[in-house]
Symmetry: C2
Subunit: 224 residues, 2 copies
C-alpha cells in the first residue's frame, strides 16, 4: 500500500482503478435548517457511527466525512480483485442498516432520515495530499466528480451504480431499474443502474419494489 | 472554543454565524486527467502547502482538503469580530501567492494553475462529527453548499463574495464587479461581488482590471 511504503509516500501519487462510493442523507441540509444544532450533529453522528462499522467490515477506505456525506474508496491503499463487489454489498448493507439508524433517531426524538448511495468504478489519482502541517490520503480525478453526480440522482433508499461498476461486479446483481442521465461536464448521456441485491458468497437484498407494490395493493381501499 | 471545552464536545453541536471560504484550482480535474499521477499530486501539494501557511496566518480553520479544493472556516472554533475581514484579506493574499505557486510549478516542470475563491457569511452548525473510530470538526448547513456554488462561478484568479460577506466586511473593500446569479436550490437570484482589494490596517490589492487593460493596449499592434 502507498501508505505503508516509504517509496509510495515519496513518489507522492499513483493512478489506480478503484471503486468510489459517495453517500449522503437526502434532503438533510434543508431539514437541518429547522432543527436545533445538537439534533443536527446527533443525527449525523448516529448515521456515521453505524455506517463506519459497515464500511470497515467491507474493507472500504473512508476518505472523508463532508457534513452528512461520506466518500469511500474500495481499492486504495490496498487493491483487491473484488473491490467493486464489496462496494456493492457494502452499499446494500448500509441501506438495510438505515432501519437501525432511524430506530436510534426516534429513540432520541430526532426525525427519520434517508440515505442515497452512488457508486462508480474508474481510474483516479491517489496519494498523500496536503502540507507538512496537515496531510491526508486523498483522491483526485473526474471519476470522483462523476460519483458525486451519480449520487445526486438518488432518492432516499436508493443505490445507483455506473455501467463500469456494473461490469466490474460481474454476475448475480439484482438491477431494479435503469436511467439515462446527462451529468454536468459530460458530452454524452450515461446509463446508471439501480442496485437491488447481490448474490454469491454474500447474498444481500433490499426489499423488492414489486413486492412492496403488491403489499400496498393488498390493503383494502376505504369505501366512500 | 468548542474543541477545547468538554461541555462543547458533549453538547455536540452549535449554531454559529461564520464566514466560509471554498477554493479550488479551476479546471484542474480536466488537466489532471492528462498528467502523470506524480505531477497531479505534486501540483496539489505545492498549492496546499503555500495556501495552508497563509490561511493559518489569518487564523482560518482548515476544515478539509477535498482533492484540489480547500474548505476554510473563519469564526469556529473561535469566534472573532473581524472574521469576514480576515477571510477577505486572506483570500487576496492567497490569490497574490499564486505567482509563487506557479513559479514552483514551472521549476518542477508542471503546468501553471489558477485558483478560484468563494466566500460567504451565515449561520451553520459546527461540531465534532463522526464515529468513535474517526471524528473531525465539521460543518453542516445550506450556507456551506451556497459557498461552494459561489466558488463555482469563479474563473481563475477571481474572488467572489456574497452580499452577507460584503456587509460583514464593513468599509474599504475594492469591489471590481458584481453579478446576479441563480444558484441551484435557491428560489431567488442573488448578487455576488468580485473582491479586488481591502483597505485599513492590512491593505492588500489584486492588480486592477483597468490597469491590466491599459497595459495591454500600450503594446503596439503588429502592422500587417
Amino acid at each position: 500500500s502507498i501508505l505503508d511504503s516509504p517509496e509510495g509516500t515519496r513518489l507522492g501519487g499513483e493512478k489506480r482503478r478503484v471503486t468510489i462510493m459517495m453517500t449522503d442523507l437526502r434532503g438533510f441540509t434543508a431539514i437541518s435548517e429547522r432543527l436545533p444544532a445538537e439534533h443536527v450533529v446527533g443525527i449525523i453522528n448516529i448515521y456515521l457511527e453505524i455506517m463506519t462499522e459497515i464500511i470497515l467490515k467491507y474493507q472500504g477506505t473512508i476518505d472523508e466525512f463532508i457534513g452528512d456525506a461520506i466518500l469511500v474508496i474500495f481499492g486504495a491503499p490496498v487493491l483487491r480483485e473484488d473491490d467493486a463487489r464489496r462496494a456493492a454489498a457494502c452499499a446494500i448493507e448500509m441501506q438495510l442498516a438505515m432501519e437501525t439508524v432511524n430506530a436510534r433517531n426516534r429513540e432520541a426524538g430526532y426525525p427519520d432520515v434517508a440515505q442515497g448511495i452512488g457508486i462508480n468504478t474508474g481510474d483516479l489519482v491517489v496519494g498523500n495530499i496536503g502540507s507538512e502541517k496537515r496531510s491526508k490520503y486523498g483522491v483526485v480525478g473526474r471519476n470522483v466528480n462523476l460519483t458525486s453526480r451519480i449520487e445526486s440522482y438518488t432518492v432516499g433508499g436508493q443505490i445507483l451504480i455506473s455501467e463500469s461498476t456494473l461490469a466490474a461486479c460481474g454476475d448475480a446483481l439484482r438491477i431494479d431499474d435503469q436511467f439515462e442521465v446527462m451529468p454536468k461536464g459530460l458530452k454524452h448521456p450515461i446509463t446508471i443502474y439501480e442496485l437491488g441485491g447481490i448474490g454469491g458468497s454474500a447474498t444481500l437484498c433490499l426489499p423488492e419494489k414489486h413486492t412492496a407494490e403488491l403489499k400496498s395493493l393488498a390493503v383494502p381501499l376505504p369505501v366512500r
